[in-house]
Symmetry: C2
Amino acid sequence: MELKEAQEKFISAWGAFGTQWGINRTMAQIHALLLVSEDPLSADDIMQQLNISRGNVNMNVRELMSWGIVHKVLKFGERKEFFTAEKDIYKTAIQILKERRKRELVPVLELLSDLEKQEIKEEGGEQFKKLMGDISRFGESTNKMLDKMVKADEHWFTGSLMKFLIKK
Amino acid sequence: MELKEAQEKFISAWGAFGTQWGINRTMAQIHALLLVSEDPLSADDIMQQLNISRGNVNMNVRELMSWGIVHKVLKFGERKEFFTAEKDIYKTAIQILKERRKRELVPVLELLSDLEKQEIKEEGGEQFKKLMGDISRFGESTNKMLDKMVKADEHWFTGSLMKFLIKK
DNA sequence: CTAAACTTTCAAAAATTTTTGAAAGTTTAG
DNA sequence: CTAAACTTTCAAAAATTTTTGAAAGTTTAG
């Protein structure tokens, strides 16, 4: 197989998987493209390689930067901005975990604890509050666990945690 | 606050969060509705409470069943089918983890190991294969970890794992 | 078997999300 | 300051996803 063919396979598959994860196809493809490209790419490079418009590149690259998994690189003597993806896959995964925790889990926990605190006198109210409490407690545990993972270093993930999980 | 109001808040918030997770709004809302409803509901009940069409209810309920987090309940003397959500939130979460692992992670791992095995002689080929290998290895670790979590029991999650994670 | 009571399917419509590309904005070289 | 080289914005168009609801299919009571 040719390198280019393999890269294209990877980019398009990554894009398809992205959509299942609530990320849009193009954003995932840009990420994949930057991952497989040794050197940083300019907006024009991305436009040309993925066949998408300038506005589209701009929007998605900025979104990827807001996730902290793509960075702007400036080259001397060039006015254009270039972009690279974080090449360390562990760092990338932790970064995504961190952001999702902040953007998605934390707001849910806030809503749940708010509903749990409400005074509901009607029949069934206690049961509803118990459900909110159950979900809330489960979410808090997950939250703590993720926080721990995010703050740990790579050695911890591949080392102690894996050992702990594999044993028994 | 009234019970009904609190329930509606929960349902609509759950729906909104669902969309961020690649699940559609209605499916998440039906799930939330079934969670807060003590008794099983029929398709008509769901239609009426969420104001959606029969076809829509049918599709989404079946999808929820395929995820294994909603079950069909038959009542004696009734021809209608009724549905409930798994009320144990831990079981629900594990079930979702299990399905996502199977539907999303496993196919990615297959693609990666396929690309890693390719013969690519061109310049840059080795580097590309290294990237595939890195992602692959990371994915395999995650896969093992999730598998372990899925197979463990609840006590393990709230007990040993949490203790392990919280300490130092 | 028949008809009533349901569930399922699916093409068309509606809603939502994504993309385009031109116009506006910004920065820098000279 | 000016103009060229860029980046950003945003309304309209395109693409995609979701929803509707009527028709088809299935099951069960009698």
